[in-house]
């Protein structure tokens, strides 16, 4: 079943009088449970593509269908709900909430869901914190963690809502190779065990080699798929 469907998607940015095309007629579909890499050099449109699929940005034209919903037809409120319930985000710079500890950061999206009991929230948070191996750091704030640990918190936070899709924008870019590999291993393990679709951008060849599917972008166009 198609989890993500893009048809003739165009994204242009307007910088004053200049129009900069970021994506040019991109079409692709990604099924549930895929572990897909979007590869390409800087400026190729990887992040733009992830932003459109993640519903944090809208296409200039074309259709972006995520989990059966055409994002162009959704209101701002519905888009936010879609992000909350169906999409998890992992950012290059981790983007944790600095004043919350590990436990509170992971719990944050669950509090937004509002329909979970306190016990259910606790059980889910503990499950994913243990899964990323941070049970001994639950009370630590982000500035008391290493880069790898922060990215683990971000992964736990992305997964705790049990989303259908996890989008990761260069998740290993700010990590050393050993830590980066452990993060990729963790994502692959979760992809297998939870059947979560992973779609992440990178230009690290070592990471690209470990994906099930590779989509190569250049100048806003898909130039190869394997």
């Amino acid at each position: 079943m198609d989890n993500i469907q893009l048809s003739n998607v165009v994204k242009e940015y307007h910088l004053g009088k200049v129009t900069v095309p970021a994506l040019k007629n991109v079409s692709l579909s990604i099924d549930r449970g895929e572990f897909t890499v979007i590869a390409g050099p800087s400026g190729s449109g990887k992040t733009t593509l992830l932003n459109l699929i993640g519903c944090v940005d809208v296409a200039s034209s074309g259709d972006v269908v995520v989990g059966g919903s055409n994002t162009a037809q959704l209101t701002e409120r519905e888009l936010t709900d879609l992000r909350l319930h169906k999409i998890g985000f992992i950012f290059q710079s981790f983007n944790l909430i600095p004043v919350l500890n590990v436990y509170d950061n992971v719990e944050f999206p669950l509090l937004l869901m509002k329909d979970l009991s306190k016990e259910e929230r606790r059980s889910r948070v503990m499950h994913f914190i243990e899964k990323v191996g941070l049970q001994d750091h639950m009370k630590h704030r982000p500035n008391e963690l290493s880069g790898g640990q922060r990215q683990r918190v971000a992964i736990a936070r992305a997964l705790v809502t049990k989303p259908r899709i996890v989008l990761a924008d260069e998740p290993t870019a700010n990590l050393d190779s050993v830590t980066g590999q452990s993060i990729i291993d963790l994502m692959k393990e979760i992809n297998r065990s939870e059947q979560t679709t992973f779609l992440f951008s990178t230009h690290d060849d070592n990471v690209i080699r470990q994906a099930n599917r590779i989509i190569k972008l250049r100048d806003g166009v898909i130039v190869a798929e394997s």
Binding site: R83, P109, L111, T161
Partner: protein, 452 residues
């Protein structure tokens, strides 16, 4: 919601320097407002306290008798009938005293002053007037006290019970250059437009109680009757005292209806003391008896400007300072939002609705406002309590005139504190609304990519 509180509180504490400066400024403004309000309430209550002892009841039934068109005497005929009617109409009155009203000249060897006078039956008014403090010699004798060897007896308020006595305030004694034991002459026009005079001995000189002291002098009621040539069933005013000042309006209404029903002619409501009405009444074309029902505010209307000044000062000061701290708070919110724009973007990406961003920032300003205003109220209350405990004596005549008291007295009212707390908190939260609203309107992608 709990998490929003946690985030807001931790953001405030993580920028403790900034929060402390702004919170301190808000607390300082609140403290000033609390002290100013307590000062105004203190003056108002002292004014009520002094006025209701010296020159007015909570309600008064006075009036004018005009035997010819151009005359006006502040007297009431057939007082016994009116006394009974008042007792029946106002059963809740805690005290009703009768005074003879007079307005005329006090003449000494050196000077003379025009002043309203109250003819007092001291035996019936000991509770009202017994507590008035006597002035010290320095309050009314000018020049070097040490070289002033003239002997002087200490005055006694209770000596007013004896006929031929007068009690005045230090400011009046100073103008007239008289002391306890000296003789002055009172002269006043009767309702037949004849000026009667009488010599009186200064029985006591009282400490000034602000501006109201200049408009009050006490004489024995029998002397006042003699000067006005009044028969026994005549009086000047019934001063009615109630358990609470809040009852005044309802009792006033009932009293007017009761008097009208008993066929008394009533003067139109005129918010002025009786001695400011002579000219107006004398110029009116009616003759005979008309009653004038007034309350304590009417009788002290000439002092209202003092309260108005303090109220205006409080409002102006509060508004100016509030504007400054609100600008500070709004600026603080802008800085906070700028610094946390990527964080806002992340939260929006994670599924936080726009309303959530708005609520989160409003909670932050609300916490800062409530804690700072609360601290300001506590500090302000503490300062007020401390000043009252120290019992600051006021030596400046100008300050005594404005503050209506010889010592600084501030009165904290729970309602004032509640209004201050609510008004300041709501204003500050409203001030933070625009930045919070703008933050909530940011697109997630714009916010995430924001570079500080």
């Amino acid at each position: 919601m709990r998490q929003f509180f946690v985030i807001a509180f931790r953001n405030l504490t993580s920028h403790s320097g900034r929060s402390l400066v702004l919170g301190g400024a808000i607390a300082l403004v609140t403290t000033l407002v609390v002290v100013m309000l307590a000062l105004t309430a203190g003056i108002r209550n002292r004014m009520i306290e002094n006025a209701t002892a010296l020159s007015t009841g909570h309600l008064n039934v006075g009036g004018f008798l005009k035997i010819s068109q151009s005359s006006a005497a502040p007297v009431i005929n057939r007082a016994s009938k009116l006394r009974t009617l008042i007792a029946e109409t106002v059963p809740e009155a805690t005290l009703v005293v009768e005074r003879v009203r007079a307005y005329g000249k006090i003449i000494s060897d050196e000077n003379s002053i025009m002043v309203p006078m109250s003819g007092i039956d001291m035996a019936k008014e000991e509770t009202l007037l017994g507590g008035l403090a006597l002035a010290e010699r320095g309050d009314y004798i000018e020049g070097d006290l040490a070289s002033d060897a003239k002997p002087e007896l200490p005055g006694r308020m209770m000596d007013l019970a004896q006929q031929g006595s007068i009690v005045m305030f230090a400011s009046q004694a100073k103008k007239l250059k008289v002391r306890v034991g000296d003789t002055v002459t009172i002269s006043m026009p009767t309702y037949r437009n004849i000026y009667n005079t009488k010599d009186l001995r200064v029985a006591a000189i009282l400490k000034n109680l602000g501006l109201i002291s200049s408009f009050t002098t006490f004489i024995n009621h029998l002397d006042a009757r003699e000067v006005y040539d009044l028969d026994p069933d005549t009086t000047g005013v019934f001063q009615i005292y109630l358990k609470s000042i809040d009852q005044v309006s309802a009792v006033d209404d009932r009293l007017r209806k009761g008097l009208s029903a008993a066929s008394y002619a009533l003067m139109e409501k005129d918010a002025n003391p009786f001695w400011m009405k002579f000219e107006r009444v004398a110029g009116e074309s009616w003759s005979g008896q008309k009653l004038d029902v007034t309350d304590w505010q009417d009788e002290t209307s000439f002092l209202k400007w003092i309260l108005d000044i303090f109220n205006a000062l409080t409002v102006a000061l509060t508004a100016t300072l509030m504007f400054i701290v609100t600008v500070g708070l709004v600026n603080n919110m802008w800085m906070s939002i700028r610094e946390r724009t990527p964080e806002i973007g992340t939260m929006r990406a994670l599924g936080l609705q726009r309303r959530g961003v708005l609520v989160m920032f409003l909670i932050e300003s609300c916490l800062l406002a409530v804690m700072s205003v609360g601290a300001g109220i506590l500090i302000g209350s503490g300062i007020v309590g401390l000043l009252n405990l120290i019992d600051v004596q006021i030596s400046s005549e100008a300050f005594v005139m404005f503050l209506m008291s010889n010592s600084l007295w501030l009165d904290l009212q729970a309602s004032d504190l509640l209004i201050t707390f609510t008004t300041l908190s709501v204003l500050l939260i409203l001030g933070a609304f625009i930045p919070a609203y703008r933050a909530s309107k940011m697109k997630p992608i714009t916010a995430i990519n924001h570079v500080n």
